[in-house]
């Protein structure tokens, strides 16, 4: 006890000493006063005399005449004042010039404060919220950033603006404040439909990524760089240069090929963003749930991707150059059998005897190559207070990994904004893109009238062609056709020249008028003109020894032919919105109301002639034989699909309401009227409501240290999908069906395809519950969402029984309900260790369960044709994911005749009496019918991404991973083996069943034509390093010395350098329509890229 009292005294001593030191440190003069029963006013005048300080007070202040005792030596003034004011309700404030203001704590004096709020570039910020701390009253800045507010003189002002760090400042008469952009994620502004919102206030599920992140990857289309970056967003890579990757947001909600999200580029609604230069993008936001999507109504069921392009910044003109140069190659190739393996296999399969030729051709390597890729971008931006501009030019040249393939794109952009007067501004975003694609022998897909996203017949020919045939020697080709009726794949490519030249002009002009600080009117008129033309030339060649090493066979083209297709698409859109934004008390209310009108039309002309000279300069229609037909019959579906006109009229409304900055409400409704549906189904409504609670704003959370931010949110809404072709409900006449009466031709017509006269929207109803948090001093942030999406009346191309007479047998109708339920988790840890080192780890994982819950009329949908023997391999049925593989089940391999004889039905009949040892044993039902089973689908159960990165001094490094688990792939190319002379994969040759190799998983050598079975269904799991990026940024000290440049970063990047896949084929990523995806027939292989680049600012 003694010790403790000693300690106590010691502690007191230290404390007093500290106080003394601090008093002295304050620099105030010390006073000694000894007064008894004196009024406070008297004490103050004594202090005035001793210290030279002056007091300002109102003698009518309550308590100023209180009688006090003062007995101090060498005390500082504050200490004295605190003593005598204690219990009086008085307070004081020391101002400059030795002035001390005395006021009442109860009724503070009001003063008029005026000021101006600007951003880092000294540009005025309008609409900035200026409020008194702890109070509800406040104001916002006007168009010029000015504000004026009456406040108690001792008040603190809270100055906040979305996207900027909130500042709290003691009032002064004049306050000019510069806000800085917030680094905190929760303060960031997120782009939402027709406006922006603070991320903290969002009740829906959105994710966004900055343009700077996107350009780090050497990809041509921005969405490609999203792979693994966002929970709930699945990207399926397209290997073909210039192709649009497939994006699936929260599972496949529809069975239509229109399962793609809506893209909104600076307000322009589109389904193709291959014209957008990634370097021009400042922000890419994905809207994932109905609450955020509903503002886009019936376009939004598959999610919305909003792309915002960069705007100029007033001030000194900034010049930026960005470029990279790299080389691409296939990530994975399948090893085919060599000549000896092939000859042995064909022999063993009892096929024709094949004599060795001395050749052993690897067909894939004969037409695949390392392709070079380069990207260059230059941008200029700047302007004055009244005019800001950004100009950029970009060039991409991507050769692709197949011979003769290339993609070249020029892009130009000019984004300008003008301030007309204090309340109005005008601006435009304009872009032009020219893309020239040299395609490789694209196969025409008669099912949906589109070009396959693949390498066409060359790929399957290379897979099938015998290795005993030489590929090409000198100018002459190996004749695979005469040997086995398969085209020479190199000739497939080289006899065909398919060039697509796309010119696209896209632009928005807008006027924004803000007559009152709380009211904004915006009118934006957008246009999107897309004019691609396609020129396909097929050279003439005969099956003779001029072309081939040996003559004969079916691969020949007796007359050259030229097809020219000219497409012209125009889409205009006019948005008119009124936004009301006002803070009333603790309530913050934003109301948006608007009208959107749209019209799109497309016109297509095609012409065809034979016998056009081989000189590319003469590839024009008049050079051909005028006696040849003008259009090929195969053009009909293409023509029909490319000629359309549709209109849409929409009304939008949204209320964002927050109370006390912690209770959030978003309510949206959009009404869409569309010409794409019959009059009785023309209008659709998309309502949604979202609520949020920022728990950490509550008083009871103020003392906890765990969460910096915690938000709970939930939403419900309905959105639609109207992604159907124009004329989907109208019976049409197929023209030019000839017949001959009396020797004279007549062109007949027919209603060939059945139409659903009652076609309507598909409507997705979605419920969402989410949690967002930031903890450990914002080092760890995260978001967890659960969603339940139910697509009612899903639109689907149903295959109907042929008795209905529809040709093709696909009929578009509303026929199913599909459910997607899932959980998304995103976490990010970032920590600045010190000024020279910081790192982050960020990851996300999505679980999705796709399920067909209601089929209209119970008719299952079959799709996924693989060949004559396998007319369909997928079946979409209740209780299974869309597009599930439905095939015979392989139970194993018959090892001997006894096993075959023992495999009987319940009546003892041998089930596979034709089988031989080494053949597959298939599952049968007990009554002896061949059985088919559901064998999984291409839709993954989980997909995830992981990013790690650090910056150390001038170096930055990042590595991204992506994985996809729980899906299946159908090895269609293997299943399509048509004849005994088709080549096989090396593993098929070496692993096949023989008496000496009694495997249970591979059959004996066979001549192909196996039925669709689980043998061809493989795991689709894959894991990949998406991107590795290593950069070096020139330190500021060096930059300052150099003077001419303002920034410089050089980097090395590797895209898809490592892929680990379970699938034995070329690519685990197989873009396709929902009911037939995941079937590998002739894909363009996924590529990996190694590139170096530079980013230079002047």
């Amino acid at each position: 006890m003694k010790i403790s009292s000693y300690m106590k005294g010691n502690f007191l001593l230290v404390f007093v000493t500290l106080l003394w030191l601090s008093a002295n440190a304050s620099g105030q003069p010390l006073v000694s006063i000894h007064m008894k029963n004196a009024e406070i006013t008297q004490v103050l005048s004594t202090i005035e005399k001793e210290s030279g300080y002056h007091f300002l007070f109102n003698s009518r202040l309550n308590g100023i005449h209180k009688v006090v005792d003062v007995d101090v030596d060498n005390a500082d003034i504050s200490q004295v004042l605190n003593n005598i004011f204690s219990g009086t309700g008085l307070q004081f404030k020391m101002l400059e010039n030795k002035l001390i203001v005395v006021s009442s704590t109860e009724v503070a004096q009001d003063i008029q404060v005026t000021g101006k709020i600007t951003n880092e570039n000294n540009e005025p910020l309008s609409g900035v919220s200026v409020t008194l701390k702890g109070k509800t009253n406040g104001t916002t800045t006007d168009q010029n950033g000015n504000f004026s507010i009456t406040t108690p003189e001792n008040a603190t002002l809270v100055i906040s603006y979305v996207g900027y760090t909130t500042q709290e400042l003691a009032v002064t008469a004049t306050m000019n404040v510069k806000l800085t952009q917030s680094a905190k994620i929760m303060d960031q502004v997120v782009v939402v439909g027709y406006g922006t919102q603070r991320k903290l206030d969002i009740t829906g599920a959105t994710a966004s990524v900055k343009g700077a992140e996107l350009v780090k990857q050497p990809v041509t289309t921005a969405t490609q760089a999203l792979q693994g970056k966002m929970a709930g967003v699945q990207i399926i890579t397209a290997g073909q240069p210039g192709a649009l990757p497939v994006v699936r947001i929260r599972g496949v909600g529809t069975m239509l090929s229109g399962a793609d999200p809506l893209y909104v580029v600076d307000g322009i609604l589109t389904n193709d963003i291959t014209n957008i230069n990634t370097s021009d993008i400042v922000d890419l936001t994905v809207l994932k749930d109905a609450s955020s999507e509903a503002i886009y109504g019936v376009r939004a069921a598959n999610g919305v991707i909003i792309i915002t392009t960069k705007q100029g910044v007033s001030g000194k003109i900034k010049v930026n150059y960005f470029g990279n140069f790299g080389v691409r190659s296939a990530t994975n190739l399948v090893k085919m059998a060599n000549s000896q393996q092939y000859i042995d296999y064909v022999q063993a399969s009892l096929g024709p005897t094949v004599a060795p030729t001395g050749y052993s051709t690897d067909w894939f390597s004969s037409f695949l190559r390392n392709g070079f890729e380069q990207t260059h971008n230059i941008s200029l931006s700047g302007g004055s207070e009244n005019n800001k501009f950004l100009f950029s030019a970009g060039y991409v040249n991507d050769q692709g990994i197949v011979i003769d393939n290339s993609y070249k794109r020029w892009t130009f952009r000019l984004n300008d904004e003008y301030k007309i007067n204090s309340i109005a501004k005008f601006g435009f975003n304009a872009s032009y893109a020219n893309a020239v694609t040299q395609s490789v022998n694209q196969a025409y897909n008669s099912t949906n009238g589109t070009q396959n996203q693949g390498v066409g017949s060359s790929f399957s020919d290379a897979y099938r062609a015998s290795p005993t045939i030489p590929s090409k020697i000198g100018n002459r080709y190996g004749n695979t056709s005469v040997f086995q009726n398969v085209g020479n794949p190199i000739l497939d490519i080289e006899n065909n020249n398919n060039r697509n030249n796309d010119n696209r002009i896209q632009g928005t002009g807008y006027v924004e008028i803000k007559p009152l600080s709380w009211l904004t009117f915006r009118s934006a008129l957008s246009g999107d003109l897309d004019v691609p033309d396609n020129r396909t030339y097929n050279y003439a060649f005969a099956a003779d020894t001029t072309t081939f090493l040996t003559g004969g066979g079916n691969q020949s083209n007796s007359k050259s032919n030229l097809t020219i297709g000219n497409l012209k698409k125009f889409h205009w859109l006019w948005d008119n919105t009124l936004t009301f934004n006002k803070r009333i008390g603790k309530s913050n209310l934003t109301v948006l109301a608007g009208v959107v009108t749209e019209e799109a039309n497309s016109n297509y002309n095609t012409s065809y002639r034979q016998s056009v000279p081989a000189n590319p300069n003469l590839w024009y229609i008049p050079e051909g034989d005028p006696q040849t037909q003008q259009t090929g019959p195969q053009d009909q579906p293409t023509i029909a699909a490319n000629i359309y006109n549709w209109t849409r009229l929409s009304y939008i409304g949204r209320v964002n309401y927050s109370y006390n900055d912690r209770y959030l409400l978003t309510a949206t409704i959009r009404a869409d009227g569309s010409s794409l549906f019959p009059p009785q189904n023309r209008w659709a409504y998309s309502p949604s409501i979202g609520v949020g609670w920022i728990v950490t704003k509550e008083d009871f959370m103020q003392n906890q240290k765990l969460f910096d931010m915690l938000k709970i949110k939930g939403s419900w809404g309905k959105v639609g999908n109207d992604n159907v072709p124009a004329g989907s409900f109208t019976n049409t006449l197929t023209p030019n069906l000839p017949y001959f009466f009396g020797g004279t031709a007549s062109g007949g017509v027919a209603i060939t395809q059945l139409k659903d006269q009652n076609l309507t929207w598909e409507q997705v109803e979605e419920t969402d519950i989410g949690l967002e948090f930031s903890t450990l001093k914002q080092k760890l942030t995260g978001e967890i969402n659960y969603y339940n999406k139910l697509n009612n009346n899903a639109l689907i191309n149903v295959v109907v029984p042929s008795t209905l007479g529809s040709q093709p047998s696909y009929v578009l109708t509303n026929a199913a309900s599909i459910q997607n339920q899932g959980v998304e988790v995103s976490l990010r840890w970032s920590e600045p260790i010190n000024s020279s080192f910081s790192y982050y780890v960020s990851g996300n994982i999505t679980y999705n369960n796709n399920n067909v819950v209601g089929l209209n009329g119970g008719q299952p949908y079959i799709d996924g044709p693989v060949g004559a023997n396998q007319p369909y391999v997928t079946k979409t049925d209740n209780g299974h994911p869309v597009g599930s593989f439905y095939v015979q089940k392989v139970l194993g391999v018959f090892q001997n005749q006894a096993e075959i004889n023992a495999y009987t039905d319940k009546n003892g009949k041998i089930l596979q009496s034709d089988a031989q040892p080494g053949d597959f044993k298939y599952e049968y039902t007990p009554d002896g019918k061949l059985d088919s089973v559901f064998a999984g689908s291409y839709q993954p159960k989980f997909y995830f991404g992981l990013s790690l990165g650090f910056t150390y001094k001038a170096f930055d490094f990042s590595i991204d991973f992506y994985g996809n688990v729980g899906n299946k792939i159908y090895n269609g190319k293997k299943a399509l083996r048509q004849t005994a002379l088709d080549n096989i994969e090396a593993s098929t040759a070496t692993d096949r069943w023989t008496q000496k190799n009694p495997t249970n998983s591979e059959p004996r050598a066979n001549s192909g034509n196996l039925p669709a079975s689980t043998y061809f269904v493989e795991s689709g799991d894959f894991y990949r390093i998406n991107n590795i990026n290593l950069g070096y940024t020139l330190p500021p000290s060096v930059i300052q010395k150099l003077k001419v440049i303002s920034s410089l970063r050089v980097f090395f990047t590797a895209q898809n350098p490592v892929t680990i896949q379970k699938y034995s084929g070329f690519s685990s990523e197989l873009p396709g329509s929902p009911t037939s995806s995941g079937i590998e027939l002739n894909p363009y292989p996924t590529t990996k890229t190694f590139a170096v680049g530079i980013n230079l600012g002047l």
């Binding site: 008669s446 099912t447 005469v482 007559p515 009152l516 009117f521 009118s523 099956a543 003779d544 020894t545 040996t550 003559g551 004969g552 079916n554 008119n576 009208v595 009108t597 006696q627 037909q629 003008q630 006109n645 209109t647 009229l649 009304y651 023309r682 124009a726 004329g727 006449l733 030019n736 000839p738 009466f741 031709a745 062109g747 007949g748 017509v749 027919a750 209603i751 139409k755 006269q757 295959v799 109907v800 029984p801 042929s802 008795t803 007479g805 529809s806 040709q807 093709p808 047998s809 209209n856 299952p860 799709d863 004559a868 023997n869 007319p871 369909y872 048509q978 004849t979 001549s1007 034509n1009």
Partner: protein, 526 residues
């Protein structure tokens, strides 16, 4: 206040603008369909649909994910000629084994895509007929024309159902247009098989009776249009399958009075010069359309002589190099053996037989002078001559170079068959003399002596034999054998893997059963 006023003013203008943009034209959402005509905007829709229904005879879409749509293309050839003992699969071993090949050896299953092509092609064509019937009913045309057009397309529908019932047995009778894709679920007619008897009695026979009553006689309508004679002939044939011999006799008797006759030269029947000749009753018309050939896709090509390794190269001849086609449906040894020794005219007009001598300078010289090189360069030793169409550059037969769609008319009903039907009916009705006289007309055109058959059984066999060779490779042989009740016997004798009680009819396509939700029933044994 001034400022306030001006703000109010601006707001007022904004409101007006907003209202304007909302108020667009009332019809803004009625965007008319572009680039595709509709039944509403085609003033001649009924007659054009009728032409489209005729066009289904030559329309064949060989591809497609579920095996395509075939009325008279490769799948039809497989399911008629190749399936019979007249023709082998042809081409080379393994080629199209899983499609055409399975017909040749009766290993087809319900999964064979050609089976589905035949089924789907016929129903797609029937749908064209049904659409045209609906359009005729409301078309602004005179009633006589309407009845004639209706008679023409009903003939076509009856012909298709006749094929279907012969291929598959009982099939769904579809005479209406579905109101949407859900019709498969709501209208059982689309997925329920009627009995074969019902197909004959409620569909085929009434349709043909209407045609007989409303179609003009030969000569009163352009060649190619359905005539009364065609309808009578087809109905006679239908009754022959139903063994209603009196009806066969009556109908064929009537046709024999309508100006038809045998063409003098059997060899010209399947050449362009023989198109729509005096013997022709119903043939599929082809021609050129839009500066290209418009025939049945693949009909001639898939049966054309096929090169072997090394191809053809005929320097000195102004003919194509490479080859002429795919070599399917090659005439069988059984067919060759079935001709009487002196029946060379018909045999040589039906079968291109290559010189078997490997040292011969050429394999065959065809009627137009075209030289097929020696056997060492050609895949098969026989080809179907009736499917051959000249490609000579001097256009001995019309040819624009579209080998896929050569202008080859397919002769489905001709007067020789009327005579043979009349003979068969007469024989069954014990009118031996009439039967012999009919038969001898056919034989004498072929340069053969009168028949020696006298009693009913031997005469029946003689008539059947005559049908076999006279109509060889004209797509009827297999159906005849089934009708005659001797398919199993003949097929097994020809070495085919034929299962009696099963292979007389094809399986219902498995895809179609799946699409019907299991409501379509399968044929026995499949």
């Amino acid at each position: 206040m001034d400022k306030m006023n001006s703000h109010m003013k601006i707001s007022k203008y904004l409101l007006i603008l907003l209202t304007l943009s909302m108020g667009c034209s009332k019809n803004f959402l009625d965007a008319p369909l572009q680039g595709q005509s509709t039944p509403q905007n085609d003033p001649n829709v009924a007659t054009n649909l009728v032409t489209g229904a005729y066009s289904s005879l030559i329309y064949t879409d060989a591809g497609g994910p579920f095996g395509g749509f075939d009325t008279h293309g490769f799948a039809f050839i497989s399911a008629t000629n190749i399936m019979s003992d007249d023709a082998d699969k042809g081409s080379f071993a393994g080629d199209q084994q899983s499609t055409a090949g399975q017909f040749d050896d009766f290993s087809y299953t319900s999964g064979n895509s050609f089976v589905n092509s035949v089924w789907s092609g016929h129903y797609a064509a029937i749908s064209r007929v049904n659409n045209s019937i609906n359009a005729i009913a409301v078309a602004p045309i005179d009633s006589a024309t309407a009845r004639r057009l209706r008679g023409e397309v009903l003939f076509i529908r009856a012909y298709y159902y006749f094929n279907l019932v012969r291929f598959f047995g009982g099939v769904p009778i579809v005479t209406v247009i579905p109101d949407g894709p859900q019709a498969a679920n709501t209208n059982p007619a689309f997925v329920t098989r009627a009995s074969a008897q019902d197909v004959y009695n409620t569909e085929i026979i009434p349709d043909l009776q209407y045609s007989i009553a409303n179609c003009p006689l030969r000569g009163n309508t352009p060649a190619g249009r359905i005539t009364k004679g065609a309808a009578q002939t087809l109905l006679a044939k239908v009754y022959m399958y139903l063994q209603n011999w009196q009806a066969v006799k009556d109908l064929t008797d009537s046709v024999m009075t309508e100006g038809y006759a045998l063409a003098p030269d059997y060899r010209t029947l399947w050449r362009t010069v023989g198109d729509n000749n005096i013997e022709s009753i119903f043939e599929i018309e082809t021609g050129s359309y839009g500066n290209t050939d418009a025939g049945i896709p693949l009909y001639s090509e898939c049966q054309g002589p096929r090169a072997f390794a090394g191809g053809w190269n005929n320097p000195g001849f102004n003919y194509p190099t490479g080859d002429l086609g795919w070599g399917f449906g090659t005439p069988s040894q059984t067919l060759i053996n079935s001709y009487e020794p002196n029946d060379t005219i018909r045999k040589n007009a039906t079968i291109i037989a290559l010189n078997p001598d490997p040292n011969a300078p050429y394999g065959a010289i065809l009627w137009d002078g075209f030289v097929i090189p020696s056997q060492s360069k050609v895949q098969n030793s026989t080809y179907n001559y009736k499917a051959y169409h000249s490609e000579r550059n001097d256009n001995i037969e019309p040819y624009f170079g579209n080998r896929d769609r050569k202008e080859k008319n397919v002769h489905l009903l001709r007067f020789a068959e009327v005579l043979l039907m009349n003979a068969e009916a007469a024989n069954e009705l014990n009118m031996t003399g009439t039967a012999q006289a009919d038969l001898n007309l056919v034989r004498s055109r072929a340069g053969l002596p009168n028949t020696v058959a006298g009693d009913q059984t031997s005469l029946r066999n003689a008539i059947w034999q005559e049908r076999h060779v006279e109509l060889a490779l004209e797509h009827d042989r297999f159906f005849d054998l089934v009708r005659q009740g001797r398919a199993a016997q003949v097929m097994i004798a020809a070495g085919k893997n034929f299962t009696p009680g099963k292979n007389e009819i094809l399986p219902i396509p498995g895809v179609q059963i799946a699409l019907s939700g299991g409501k379509l029933t399968q044929n026995p044994g499949y």
